[in-house]
Symmetry: C2
Subunit: 201 residues, 2 copies
């Protein structure tokens, strides 16, 4: 059997990664979501192994040193990471996995698993991005300015990805990603099993 696809949805903050991923999960019921490990304390309602794998810092650092993460980062004093073991097991079982992640994380994943399908979500324009971040109402003017500068710089990374999808309209963007997922299943690099089978019959 062919391995599943690791679909990495990434892009600047405010590009709409989260909304797109939610819609993709609705469309592809079989799509697995990878569960991250974190050293952050569980919040109310969060469940071990479903929301996160909750582990302590000593354990997390040991796992970093053992190269057990597809990617990890320290955010506001807490570690977050994607364990390789879980993701690789799912892929080997033929399951497709979706991973929503920032650009630094995606570049780490690419280094560790170049066979992944890396999709960069773009806002239709930087002024639209600015509007979206403002409308969320969660960031101060200073943070918004920082995010905008960051987004501008991050556009450079788009060419490290396999695909670039402009999110001007969510359904159109989701539709494009659906085509990408279907197309990628026919990549020659994923077809060794079937070619060998044809030879035999």
């Amino acid at each position: 059997m062919d391995d599943g696809l690791l679909v990495v949805i990434s892009g600047p903050s405010g590009a709409g990664k989260g909304t797109i991923c939610s819609r993709l999960k609705e469309e592809f019921k079989d799509l697995k979501v990878s569960v991250s490990a974190t050293t952050r304390k569980p919040r109310e309602g969060e469940e071990e192994g479903i929301s996160y794998f909750f582990i302590n810092e000593e354990d997390f650092i040991k796992r970093i040193n053992n190269d057990e993460f597809l990617e990890y980062a320290k955010v506001y004093g807490n570690y977050y990471g994607t364990p390789k073991s879980e993701v690789f097991r799912q892929l080997e079982e033929g399951n497709d996995i979706i991973l929503e992640i920032d650009i630094q994380g995606a570049l780490q994943v690419k280094k560790n698993y170049p066979k992944g399908v890396f999709i960069f979500i773009l806002p239709p324009s930087l002024s639209e991005l600015n509007k979206r971040i403002e409308n969320r109402g969660t960031d101060s003017k200073e943070v918004i300015m920082k995010r905008m500068q960051c987004a501008y710089d991050e556009l450079n990374y788009a060419f490290e990805y396999d695909y670039v999808v402009v999110n001007d309209e969510v359904e159109t963007a989701v539709d494009k990603i659906k085509h990408i997922i279907f197309a990628e299943k026919n990549r020659a690099v994923r077809k060794k099993a079937i070619i060998n089978k044809i030879r035999e019959v």
Copy 2:
């Protein structure tokens, strides 16, 4: 504007390239078909510039030496080739082009235009391929044996392509190629124009 796609449909004789290409042309009305040059004499009903560009051998060889062909071959004493000028002009105008071609030709095209989308059409099995070639009723037993040996060897080339599509059922195969064409339009390498535009606004 982004360049059009050069979609190369290739694979062993009897895999069903021709049927698939006809269906794709029906589905994508804007898909252009490249017109080949040949030294063969025009047959009744064939039109210059539509069926073929009919040129003489001296002219053809001069064009080979000027590196004016995406690919060419000599078949039963006649030359056939795909002129670069026509194809590149269409691509630059943003038109997508489909090219149905044997494996040797496709490998030449890849060398000359690696940005193309190279799709290898596979029969579901070699015994099915054998059946299809027999059913065409155009080949002697000896030729069929040769074609089968050739197909077996040619499976090795599948991995030089971007995609491998098994043609067990024409509509399913056409559907897969439709997804591939839509997906390829979002390739990061084809998105330089749009990323620069986003930066400006």
